[in-house]
């Protein structure tokens, strides 16, 4: 009996019909597409987008040139050169991030002892020439200045988990 | 010179050209493709003769199936042209004799009054179906030759398979019929489990 049932099931393509019924049902299901430029998916406070360098409230740049980020960067996207400033502190003369190499893992941000290098929520950026995605220190600082409010809020939200 | 004559000479010229190219083309793939062209032009001429069944069958069987297999074989061949040229003169007399014989036969058959008799194609009414006529002839007057031809073909097919089929003992292969015959129940056992343990429940309760 079971065999006969299976025979008919095979030849009447029962299982295929079942599969098609499933996709057929989804044909009428509510669509979940996000219409991107008009609609956007929500971002978490740990969102890892474009990098930025932060400053303290008095305008002093945070980065102390410890090179931890350069060391930990798995893609070797960060390049740092150092010098001693006239007040005796160690500062960077060059802080470049090659975004074409960067994999946005967030290790630099995590390794930074002074929260100088951070990843912002900005993800809509582009380059039109080859060098456009090679971000230098002034560019990163400018980004930090621009988004400082959002960055500070995100740091505060993340603080209790650190 | 009416339209049909123009079409006929067009097709005829195409046949002559293509069949010449079949034997002169250097690349065997081109030769096969020219043979295909020859067949299609022949079909055209047969359609002019209102033998549409034969014409379409020629396209269907020879062009659509036989020549495709031919192409398959020829495309996979590794052909050394110089090697082929070498024996050209040795086989020339043999080939020429064969060609002469065939030409003679054709002239004999087509030229004699008995077989063709200078007959022209007969015009038929629009509802005349030469498929039906052919079927009637094959299954009445020519039923034995037809059946014998069929048996010969069957034997040839069986022989070809028997000659080429070798089962290597060490070759591993899947048994597709077995794979397909398996049912969900043979492979998959669905076990019901409570989704959360008691301890996990308590833990999550505490966090709230």
């Amino acid at each position: 009996m079971e065999t006969i049932k299976n025979f008919f099931k095979t030849f009447l393509l029962y299982e295929l019909a079942k599969g098609m019924a499933l996709t057929g049902r989804y044909f009428f299901a509510r669509k979940i597409t996000v219409q991107y430029p008009e609609e956007k998916t929500p971002q978490g406070f740990r969102f890892r987008g474009l990098h930025a360098q932060r400053r303290y409230a008095n305008g002093e740049e945070r980065c102390i040139g410890c090179k931890l980020c350069e060391a930990i960067c798995p893609a070797m996207a960060i390049k740092i050169e150092l010098t001693e400033r006239e007040d005796g502190t160690r500062r960077t003369t060059q802080y470049d991030i090659d975004l074409t190499k960067c994999i946005f893992c967030g290790f630099c941000e995590e390794s930074c002892p002074v929260d100088a290098i951070v990843e912002t929520r900005v993800f809509e950026y582009h380059g039109e020439k080859r060098g456009d995605l090679y971000y230098t220190k002034p560019m990163l600082l400018a980004l930090g200045d621009k988004h400082e409010e959002q960055i500070a809020k995100d740091r505060a939200a993340d603080a209790k988990y650190r | 010179m009416n339209f049909e004559t123009i079409v006929f000479y067009g097709f005829a010229a195409l046949i002559v050209f293509a069949s010449l190219r079949v034997i002169t083309a250097r690349n065997p793939v081109h030769a096969v493709l020219f043979l295909v062209l020859t067949f299609i032009s022949c079909a055209g001429i047969w359609i002019l003769l209102e033998a549409e069944f034969l014409a379409i069958t020629l396209v269907l069987v020879y062009v659509g199936a036989v020549m495709v297999l031919f192409l398959f074989v020829v495309m996979m061949l590794d052909i050394n042209l110089a090697q082929l040229r070498k024996d050209f003169w040795r086989w020339l007399p043999f080939g020429a004799a064969l060609a002469g014989l065939m030409a003679f036969e054709m002239i004999w058959v087509l030229g004699s009054a008995e077989t063709s008799g200078g007959k022209t194609a007969i015009r038929h009414a629009a509802d005349y179906s030469n498929t039906k006529e052919l079927g009637r002839l094959i299954y009445t007057d020519y039923v034995y030759p037809f059946e014998i031809a069929a048996v010969i073909l069957l034997v040839a097919m069986v022989a070809a398979i028997a000659l080429t089929m070798r089962r290597r003992k060490d070759a591993k292969s899947q048994v597709v019929s077995e794979q397909i015959a398996t049912k969900k129940a043979d492979r998959l056992r669905i076990v019901k489990m409570p989704s959360e343990s008691k301890a996990a429940n308590q833990l999550s309760g505490e966090q709230k």
């Binding site: 996709t23 | 295909v36 549409e52 659509g64 498929t131 019929s177």
Partner: protein, 346 residues
């Protein structure tokens, strides 16, 4: 409608004389081919939309309202792309292959009966002609594969041609059942043979149900569509026989595939679902019914693609040779015997 055509004929006859016949034929061909091309264009959009909907997405919706201009945009893009001819390829064959692929797909429409007596050519051996035309379409593929001088293209071509040739046999036998039932190879007569007082119960898909399924599945395999799209095999052999093609040459293959799909849908409707006949006796027969049936099968094509994973090649060959061909041969005998008994009422 008919009178209008008559007057048009007469007018043309008077105006152009003997040159009218080729002009009129060209007009008739255009009347059939242009809608097919438009259908092909919008079928690509429909495919993306339908598959999108089944994957709870919405598909293209940016170009024009609901993405309705998308096919034109795609067409334009392909038109302006460069046709790259690989070095070491056979240029003449490389260029002619897509044309050889598309031409039979369009030529087959000559015998399609759109309504009672509405066919470009009322051929007595229409069914044979169709089979011949579909069997010619392999040349485009095999020549493309060989002329590209690329092993991916060649392997893709070999796979796809082997598949098409295998399934053609099953398809042919399924059609043999139809022509036995209708006792005619004229497509118009086949549809007329399905006429009756019971509407859809008179159609051939009831006595020939297994053949209907075989024909439909072979049709999917014949057109190299998912789940039988081994020829393309995006994830295995990068695109099969047309890897080396770009721009309009590629578009021709694309057109051929979709034109074949539409052809198979119409043929299934004509052979098994009574063509232009109405499914219920109280509604009039009309061209609309044929369109509706064909549209349904086209939807099934897309539906299949959205549902099933790709077949494995050896399983595909097994299905063709060891399941379909024996099944069709047995059913030919069954139908032959059945037709001799009084139980045959179709």
């Amino acid at each position: 409608m008919m009178e209008l055509l008559q007057t048009l004929q007469q007018l043309g006859q008077e105006l152009l004389g003997p040159a009218w016949l080729p002009v009129w034929t060209a007009v008739k061909i255009l009347v059939v081919v242009v809608p097919i091309m438009l259908t092909v264009a919008y079928l690509t959009l429909a495919e993306r939309k339908v598959i999108g909907y089944m994957q709870i997405r919405i598909g293209p919706n940016r170009v024009g309202p609901y993405g309705l201009i998308q096919p034109l945009a795609d067409g334009l893009k392909l038109l302006f792309k460069e046709i790259i001819i690989p070095s070491g390829s056979n240029k003449f064959l490389f260029i002619i292959a897509p044309i050889l692929g598309l031409a039979p797909a369009l030529a087959a429409w000559a015998v399609m009966p759109f309504g009672d007596g509405m066919a470009l050519a009322n051929l007595n051996a229409g069914l044979l002609y169709l089979l011949a035309m579909t069997s010619l379409s392999v040349y485009g593929i095999i020549i493309a594969g060989w002329a590209s001088n690329s092993k991916y293209a060649f392997l893709g071509a070999v796979r796809s041609v082997a598949q098409i040739v295998s399934y053609e046999i099953a398809m042919g036998f399924a059609l043999v059942c139809v022509l036995m039932a209708s006792q005619s190879m004229n497509l118009g007569d086949i549809v007329r043979g399905q006429q009756g007082s019971l509407g859809m119960l008179n159609w051939y898909f009831i006595p020939l149900f297994p053949m209907f399924l075989v024909y439909l599945i072979s049709g999917v395999a014949e057109t190299n569509r998912a789940p039988f799209d081994m020829a393309e095999g995006e994830s295995e052999i990068v695109a099969g026989f047309h890897v080396e093609y770009s721009g309009m040459a590629f578009a021709m293959f694309f057109l051929a595939e979709y034109a074949n799909m539409i052809l198979i849908s119409f043929l299934t409707a004509v052979m098994f679902l009574g063509g232009w006949l109405s499914p219920v006796p109280f509604l009039p027969d009309s061209f609309i019914w044929l369109l509706a049936k064909a549209a349904f099968f086209l939807f099934v094509f897309l539906w299949l693609r959205a549902t099933f994973p790709r077949y494995r090649y050896d399983q595909l060959m097994r299905l063709g040779w060891k399941v379909f061909i024996p099944l069709t041969i047995i059913w030919v005998v069954v139908v032959a015997v059945w037709m001799q008994t009084p139980l045959w009422v179709w």
